[in-house]
């Protein structure tokens, strides 16, 4: 790590590729992803860990990127919504959100899908209660959640390819 006016170098793996940024250590991972790496899928909703719109996977675990100082992501593997599709094919969960009407305004959708991805990896066949719990940290003001839960159930029935 080299200091440069209080900045430091942070090396991460982002969506499978090595990424190096020079940033202040207290910058939020969310801002570094969006501004320095051009990955604008993760959204800022509340900015205080209540809404889940900025959720990403860090070393396979769901986390709100608005609460992570970028230095704490040094050496970590980060996956954002941009890392789920394979070339021109949507991931099963993304397709299920399209098919079930799980996205309306779209602000919560990236975080919702990251939370659902994490859920299905741990529980490939979740009951409705487990789906609701897995998504309980992600707020949606459009759908009323029913279509989102349906999308996750649909993706689970298809089997998420990993």
């Amino acid at each position: 790590m080299t200091a440069d006016h209080g900045r430091c170098e942070v090396a991460m793996t982002v969506n499978g590729k090595a990424a190096k940024v020079c940033a202040h250590p207290m910058e939020r991972l969310l801002d570094v992803l969006r501004r320095d790496l051009g990955l604008t899928g993760a959204k800022e909703g509340c900015g205080e860990g209540e809404c889940g719109a900025c959720a990403v996977l860090i070393d396979g675990e769901l986390a709100n990127s608005c609460l992570i100082p970028v230095l704490q992501a040094n050496g970590a593997s980060v996956v954002t919504i941009e890392g789920l599709a394979r070339e021109d094919r949507l991931a099963t969960l993304q397709q299920a959100f399209v098919d079930c009407g799980g996205a309306q305004c779209g602000i919560c959708t990236p975080g919702m899908i990251m939370a659902a991805t994490c859920l299905l990896r741990k529980h490939p066949q979740p009951a409705l209660d487990a789906i609701r719990e897995g998504l309980s940290g992600n707020l949606c003001r459009c759908t009323g959640y029913a279509q989102i839960c349906e999308a996750v159930a649909e993706a689970s029935a298809h089997g998420e390819e990993r």
């Binding site: 209080g6 940033a23 202040h24 250590p25 207290m26 910058e27 939020r28 900015g47 205080e48 860990g49 209540e50 889940g52 959720a55 675990e61 769901l62 986390a63 709100n64 608005c66 609460l67 992570i68 100082p69 230095l71 704490q72 040094n74 939370a115 994490c118 859920l119 719990e133 897995g134 998504l135 309980s136 940290g137 992600n138």
Partner: protein, 291 residues
């Protein structure tokens, strides 16, 4: 007003032994940050007074759970997810597992830590009543050495603790003496996930020949600190649970605390609900005894 990252310093030493000299050299200047679920919220709001932060996230010395024959030692930087996924905690300390499951959502459970919850010292914190019930002991560490402190003595007032400015919580130790206890936990809030409790209760009791042999009741959001309900416990100990006792305990619990009105609830509601939760605990106790 959002904080400017340039006004802050953050370092991430690789080991605990590299953190302690920082705290010792400038006591009170360095704010430890683990998963960031509280600190980063204050930071985002421009309300973080500390300018120097030291990361404890993923320090191996603070992130493991050690079981011995008479106690379990939980590293202070273990996350709620770590607690939820630990088989022995689920089995012998179900109140802690349950509290972990309703703290925040999954993302915050993956980052929020038990030590952070204790040091942040919110009277509404979900996991703290469980620690009171289980007679937790804190292992505090500084460059000066280690000391042990009963968790019940840790909080001295609203957001005030006995942690010295150069100290960290290294681990939380729970004695393995509650295996046969019947436990009860309930959080009353706008919703379980994310929402902060209006009232939360953790309780456990052991029964012998139909009488309450031992009982512990603790509550959050009803006082400036998480509280053991000693008077209610005294009333219950040695008694058989019947309708009369349930009503006496309901009243005693409601009278024993002096909650406040705030944005989440009112004092009157909190007292009434606390009484009702204690009553529900006792009714559940008799049901489990018959079953």
């Amino acid at each position: 007003m959002r904080s400017d990252p340039e006004d802050y310093e953050l370092v991430a030493p690789a080991t605990l032994s590299a953190v302690l000299p920082l705290l010792a050299a400038e006591p009170g200047e360095w704010l430890p940050i683990a998963g960031g679920t509280d600190v980063m919220v204050q930071y985002a709001a421009g309300k973080l007074p500390a300018r120097k932060l030291v990361s404890l996230w993923n320090l191996p010395e603070l992130r493991h759970i050690e079981v011995s024959h008479d106690a379990i030692h939980i590293g202070a930087a273990c996350t709620y997810t770590d607690l939820r996924e630990h088989a022995l905690i689920a089995q012998e300390f179900p109140l802690l597992a349950k509290a972990a499951s309703w703290t925040g959502g999954i993302a915050n459970q993956n980052r929020g830590t038990l030590g952070g919850n204790i040091v942040n010292a919110s009277p509404a914190a979900d996991s703290l009543p469980a620690l009171l019930v289980y007679e937790a002991e804190l292992i505090l560490v500084s460059l000066r050495g280690e000391r042990r402190l009963r968790y019940v003595d840790f909080h001295t007032g609203y957001k005030q603790t006995r942690l010295a400015p150069d100290e960290l919580i290294r681990a939380i130790s729970l004695p393995r003496q509650f295996a046969g206890y019947i436990s009860y936990a309930r959080k009353v809030g706008a919703r379980n996930a994310q929402a902060i409790a209006k009232v939360c209760v953790a309780a456990a009791a052991s029964l012998q020949r139909g009488l309450i042999a031992d009982v512990r009741v603790a509550a959050g959001s009803v006082a400036p600190v998480p509280l053991r309900l000693r008077e209610t416990e005294r009333l219950l100990r040695g008694r058989a649970v019947d309708a009369v006792l349930v009503e006496q305990a309901r009243r005693k619990a409601g009278e024993e605390v002096r909650p406040i009105d705030d944005i989440r609830s009112t004092a009157a509601y909190r007292s009434a609900v606390l009484g009702n939760l204690v009553a529900e605990f006792l009714i559940q106790l008799t049901a489990e005894q018959i079953a």
